[in-house]
């Protein structure tokens, strides 16, 4: 072999390993999706904390490479760095850590002050089960349908947790769909809220919530854990961490731990979760007819969830005395996109009455939605796993 042949052979081998040689049109579609997510996050400010890691993760996961070369770089290749990071998603331990952070940064006062708002959080879970029924109609198996339907809970970590247990092969699509719709909450929810409410209802002023004592705030996570987990033990990983995080926050003697859980730890896990979820959407796994079905079902689940929260408040108001009516604009917050959906309620309320601040009232159903979707995930896991 001449030196020229030697060089040519090696360069040819190198060419075979490059992305240019292994690229397919599917890779470019996924790269475009990743770039679109990054654009949405940076230019449109749609949930940048989630969409930037996911978008960039999509780019990482869709760099074409020779999968038969044994480079150990792909997210699905056992032992690769990405695969090790992906373990938190596939084994389902990132979502409980995120829930720890959510618990540590959430003030449940609004809910404790007005416990009946918890029922709105329960009503919004209709979105999950409405989508479950439609998913069955479309031919998904019950476990797949359950994993897809949880998108209606509007809770990314819960969706990842449940899909990793019930339908691991659909997890990438479910996670991206859940986070996409969470980012699109400001676009999806307001028209529905206007559609299902009258002008008079939008003007309802709710009484300011009473001040909640520290003792009540401490009792809440303890009692919340015991009551919900006794009913649904399969929700322990999510609910346990959520209430644990909240106890750290409220007990007043673990400030350092609460700060770490709500800041550094949540940030670290969010980065890893977002990036690996994005990277798991490899073109070969992601670009299927099923994915389109999942996105359609997720959209529908979101609409049902938001609508059922609003409609439930309207029905609930029929039984409440005149001075205790609830503004149905906080019904949308029953989905657990915290605090985005509560902000939507507030903004829409202010649009119709500049002195009607609904934020704190909406935070009640909003955090109840977090608990509700975790309970719903526990129920699905209990029935189908």
């Amino acid at each position: 072999m001449s030196f020229g042949d030697f060089l040519a052979n090696n360069l040819h081998q190198f060419w075979i390993l490059t992305g240019f040689h292994n690229a397919t049109w599917e890779h470019f579609v996924m790269l475009a999706v990743g770039l679109f997510f990054i654009w949405l996050a940076i230019k449109k400010d749609f949930e940048p904390m989630l969409l930037v890691p996911i978008g960039f993760g999509i780019l990482i996961g869709n760099i074409p490479f020779n999968t038969t070369a044994g480079l150990d770089v792909g997210i699905y290749e056992e032992g690769s760095v990405l695969n090790i990071l992906y373990n938190g998603v596939s084994a389902g331990w990132y979502p409980p850590l995120i829930f720890l952070g959510i618990g540590a940064m959430t003030d449940f006062s609004a809910l404790i002050a007005n416990p009946k708002l918890m029922l709105i959080g329960a009503a919004a879970q209709f979105g999950i089960f409405g989508a479950y029924m439609v998913a069955l109609l479309l031919g998904f198996t019950p476990d797949q349908a359950g994993a897809i339907a949880i998108i209606g809970g509007a809770d990314g970590p819960t969706a990842i947790f449940l899909s990793s247990k019930l339908a691991p092969n659909l997890m990438g699509a479910i996670a991206v769909s859940a986070y996409s719709y969470m980012a699109l909450v400001p676009v999806i929810q307001p028209p529905l809220m206007r559609l299902f409410t009258t002008k008079n209802e939008r003007l309802i002023k709710m009484k300011p919530a009473r001040a909640v004592s520290q003792n009540e705030k401490i009792i809440f996570p303890i009692l919340g854990l015991l009551l919900t987990c006794f009913v649904v033990p399969s929700g322990i990983p999510l609910l346990g961490m959520l209430f644990f995080g909240n106890l750290l926050r409220e007990c007043g003697v673990c400030t350092r731990l609460a700060k770490t859980a709500s800041n550094a730890l949540t940030d670290i896990v969010t980065i890893l979760l977002g990036m690996t979820v994005g990277a798991s959407t490899q073109a070969s796994e992601f670009l299927t007819a099923q994915t389109i079905g999942i996105f359609a079902l997720g959209f529908m689940a979101f609409i049902i969830a938001s609508s059922s929260g609003v409609l439930f408040v309207k029905i609930f108001n029929l039984f409440l005395p005149k001075n205790k009516k609830i503004n149905p604009l906080i019904g949308n917050a029953g989905v657990s996109a915290v605090p985005m959906s509560a902000r939507i309620s507030n903004n829409l309320g202010l649009e119709y009455d500049p002195s009607n601040y609904l934020l704190m009232h909406a935070m009640g159903p909003n955090v109840a939605g977090v608990i509700g979707s975790a309970v719903a995930a526990g129920v699905l896991l209990g029935f189908l796993a």
């Binding site: 809910l111 002050a113 329960a122 209709f126 089960f129 476990d143 009692l223 009551l227 029935f383």
Partner: protein, 304 residues
């Protein structure tokens, strides 16, 4: 002294819990299937057929069974100690392991020092490492025919039954007594609840009841808390608690008016709710240390 006592108490509780957890794991070990006469069934590593006893880890965690005792004699519970130091004695969750009752323990960890007696009742027991705690036992009937097994109807649970290798009564050494190739729960939902209505009704009922329960509990707690805090406030102000009647209350309150009233009350009574107040005192001091001293970091000027 009190602190030391509490620390000791917590440590003792942790130790007790750890021991208990380990014991709890061992208690998940089950006798699962037994063959007394083996003429045509599974062979051991030496290519020989002997009686065998299958153990099953019924827990959902790996189980280390070294130092557990297996015996065929109730009066000698420590007859065959499972040897230490063999990695294969760690049974993965929900998995099986076979011990050969060939009376030749020198052939390896899984060869026991006793044999089973065909034509007689064979009692087999598994004892924990203390040699006293009986984990599981079974008496294999004398009538058990050659190449048939006495097995649990389901792994780790269920009634014992004779398995003769016929359809639906398979002999299953080192594998599940009931072989499942699908998720029975999913199958059941797919068959019985095709439109998902049943799931929706059940799940929503559970979600609602969980949150309703929480809601009711907190309604009660908030009422108690409200009364307690009102009482305390009134007590601290030395005044008698008196609520305005509904007629005396203003029809509509603007936010500004409420804020003004609250400020006035605050000024007048200095009575306000507990607030989160964080006082941060940053000690600004440049402590001397050789590590931050410039003279140690800079080259000394040469002397002339």
């Amino acid at each position: 002294m009190k602190k030391i006592f509490i620390t000791a108490l917590v440590a003792a509780a942790a130790l007790f819990a750890a021991n208990d957890a380990s014991a709890q794991g061992r208690r998940g070990l089950r006798l699962n299937e037994v063959m007394v006469t083996n003429d045509s069934s599974v062979v051991d590593d030496y290519g020989r057929r002997s009686a065998w006893v299958e153990l099953f880890n019924s827990t959902f965690a790996p189980l280390e069974i070294s130092s557990v005792f297996i015996t065929d004699d109730p009066s000698d519970p420590k007859k065959y100690p499972v040897p230490l130091g063999d990695v294969n004695t760690r049974i993965p969750k929900r998995q099986h392991v076979i011990f050969w009752a060939d009376g030749e323990p020198t052939k390896g960890t899984f060869h026991m020092n006793f044999t089973l007696r065909p034509g007689q009742d064979n009692w087999i027991g598994v004892y924990d490492a203390d040699g006293k705690t009986l984990i599981d036992e079974v008496t294999v009937p004398a009538s058990l025919a050659p190449n048939t097994t006495y097995a649990r109807s389901e792994d780790g649970t269920g009634e014992w039954e004779v398995r003769d290798g016929s359809e639906g009564s398979h002999v299953t050494p080192s594998s599940a007594n009931v072989i499942r190739d699908t998720n029975s729960k999913v199958e059941m939902f797919a068959e019985r609840d095709k439109n998902g209505f049943g799931m929706t009704v059940m799940a929503m009922a559970i979600v609602f009841s969980a949150l309703l329960l929480l809601s009711v509990c907190f309604y009660i707690i908030s009422k108690i808390g409200e009364r307690y805090s009102k009482g305390n406030k009134a007590k601290s102000q030395g005044s008698k608690l008196q609520e305005l009647s509904r007629e005396d209350r203003p029809d509509s309150d603007s936010g500004e008016a409420i804020a003004a009233i609250a400020m006035a009350l605050h000024e007048h009574l200095d009575a306000h709710d507990r607030e989160n107040t964080v006082l941060t005192i940053n000690k600004v001091r440049k402590a001397y240390s050789p590590w931050n001293s410039k003279i140690y970091n800079m080259r000394q000027a040469p002397r002339h």
